[in-house]
Symmetry: C2
């Protein structure tokens, strides 16, 4: 049973974006690279992007619900982007697949998280950090990632022929 098993002892933990977002970005970039209107099946995305099958299924559901991709049920069904790749930011993807970007719980839960919330001098620091990060991620689109991906493929092909 050589079933390619993903290493699980990666100790990801706090303060990093997980696989859901990773996979979502891959899937969206892949869709963005397809010919206009072409319907791509889940299995296709999975194989090309090395994503665990059934896991992607749940992620796509979120992307559909969030209005980022359109689904086509039935035989020959699959997915297409629901909007231009340049209008989908990484922040959009994150918040669609995960949840609103919140660096410190107190920013969301207030006194529920910490009784000192009202007079906390730490809070505004995380607020600004969160803003800085969100701004950056809002400024990067799926189109940019997909373009770079395409560029790399195009560049690699002639190089390999040369060798």
């Amino acid at each position: 049973m050589v079933k390619r098993a993903r290493m699980r002892s990666e100790r990801s933990s706090l303060m990093n974006v997980g696989r859901r977002v990773d996979y979502a970005v891959r899937a969206l970039s892949y869709l963005a690279g397809q010919p206009e209107g072409k319907i791509i099946s889940r299995a296709d995305i999975e194989k090309s992007q090395d994503i665990p099958s059934f896991y992607l299924s749940k992620i796509m559901k979120d992307l559909v619900a969030g209005g980022l991709v359109q689904s086509h049920i039935g035989s020959k069904g699959g997915f297409t982007l629901a909007k231009g790749a340049s209008t989908i930011s990484i922040k959009d993807v994150y918040e669609t697949v995960e949840r609103p970007l919140v660096l410190m719980e107190c920013l969301e839960q207030g006194m529920n998280y910490c009784s000192f919330c009202a007079v906390c001098s730490q809070k505004s620091v995380w607020e600004k950090a969160q803003f800085v990060l969100a701004e950056f991620l809002a400024g990067v689109s799926i189109a940019e990632i997909a373009d770079r991906q395409g560029l790399k493929s195009r560049l690699r092909a002639p190089l390999q022929q040369a060798v």
Copy 2:
């Protein structure tokens, strides 16, 4: 048994800084607000900052190991800052108490995390996002937080008298 129990159903999850960092910043700010060289016991910090006792113990250990605070063993022992509060950045605190700031595992694990690492067009996005965030956090010091804390206390006092 009205033992103040912290709500656990907070669903913190991915992409946010946890309590360890929160508590560490509180403790350091508190120490920064003390008269030069005054030794503060763990129990004192706990009570004033509403931090679970034994949990803080482990955090302080990390801060000592990281050279941010100095410990004084024995009766009348406790902690003092090991360096100027203005030279301790939030990034320092985070990395001392948690671990190096890494937004996406592939940035740390490379091919170990994802086989497409070498040709990944997503990677540089997270790299930059991480840099942006780290830069910001490196620019905020414990001194700034402590000052604001002190400022707020000073401002609040006269206001309450006025009412």
